[in-house]
Amino acid sequence: MAVIEVKDLTYRYGIGTPFEKTAVDHVQLTIPTGAYVGIIGHTGSGKSTLIQHLNGLLQPTEGTVMLDGKDIWADKAEMRQVRFRVGLVFQYPEYQIFEETVFRDIAFGPKNMGLSEDEIHARVKEIAGIVGISDDMLEHSPFLLSGGQKRRVAIAGVMAMRPEVLILDEPTAGLDPRGREEILCEIDLYRKKTGATILLVSHSMEDVARHAEHILVMNKGSVFCYDTVQRVFSRAGELQKIGLAVPQITRVCAALRQNGLAIDENIYTVEQAKEQLLKLLRQKGVNRGC
């Protein structure tokens, strides 16, 4: 089953002015229910414009966006429901925080949904658990938190609406490696608990390789390729041509292979590489007969 289906989507802005530009150009896309799709592409490749169509923040110039088989623009009165079902976390989401306490900020979305107080309370507590916000932190002012913590509060604010599809636009931008990994793991945890579909926009090939199952590569407003992680990264040469790269560790392994090491071709994470290298070392050890 496809949760989101994009048919022939085109978005132009500045129509009729000298600045007219096609940001998204005839995009076809099917996102299966429960998938984890990494979206990569250059700045200005149309990633952010594309994802803003998926919850109706932008209206397509041409084409349709279907959620569960229904055109989201068919009934404009239903648009808010669409936004609750397709949660969108923007870049640097901590800049949208406004409430007096962390609790109330996370509760903003659920409150807009018209849920009961008890339900809101339960949801905030649950999501706080997922993103690692402690109970006493919930009563603090969000403005006193650290950058990484603010980011978590903002992401939790969208998760608390319990969207079936969670879209995140570079949720790890500007964080240190540990903070990045923590947030990505929290997203994994949310997915595990709710079975949600995840779309992750990222500049980091490493992050995408580690967490996503499918990769959508955008280039100049069109879909360059959309396939499993393995098959996308096996086209390293083509990716390099449009100025994108495969993960560092994949390049390291390719170089090792060129130098005659019998290492596997499909390695995208450091863990895989470690396993492979240890295996090779053990074989070598046996051959030498130590």
Binding site: Q52, N55, L57, R80, R83, F84, G87, L88, F90, P93, Y95, Q96, I97, F98, F108, G109, N112, M113, F143, G157, V158, M161
Partner: protein, 267 residues
Amino acid sequence: MLKDITIGQFFPGDSAVHKMDARFKLCMTLLFIVMLFMGKHLYSLIFGIVFCVLALVLSKIPFRLIWKSIRVLLPILAVTAVLDIFLIDGGDTVFKWHFIEITSDGVKTALLMVIRILVLLAGTSLLTYTTSPIALTDAIERLLNPLKKIHVPVHAFAMMMTIALRFIPTLLEETDKIMTAQKARGASFSEGNLLQRARSLVPILVPLFVSAFRRAEELATAMECRCYRGDVGRTKMRQLKAAGRDYAAMAVTLILFGTALVVKIIF
């Protein structure tokens, strides 16, 4: 979208008016305004109109741009005219029906007012169309320079204006971003009664203020890192220099102004 709003309305160009010294343009605009409001007679308006048309032609600004800035104020203009026509008594009665009476003075005042405001709008919008905001603040600073003698912080005011103008587009973009982000969380800004709508602005205004303060602090630090210390010993990259065309334009303006003054005294 909010991005479509243009503020400052600078329309870059290469005409004689664009190249003029902003100080002269500012002074001439002031003279022009005084000229328009000086006389009570239709004759005295002619000089203002001549000035305005001359400047318009020389600036090569497309007329539709001027029209755009006038159009917004047309309803107000219409209300003013209607009020003038009905409320001013004097002169001959042109029209009478029950208690409504229209007099020739009323019509004359309305006509004068409408022409005055139209010309005023066209002439003053020309100033902002042909002068970049930065040049304008520069000119204001230079013109107010004498006030420094009585310890008015002219430079600080000019710097504040420059910074404010610089950040208008940035803040507009920021507002746009915050609005979409809150919309994604189900916020709606156009539902409910007045109080609910006012309350729905909180999720936009708080983040906007927070980020404005953050930007202000960053900017202050950055300025301090580059040893900014006000206008003490500060030189300008863009020097304002008066050229022949500035003096010529000023002469024409002064002649028009002088004649308008004479006309006012005679009639």
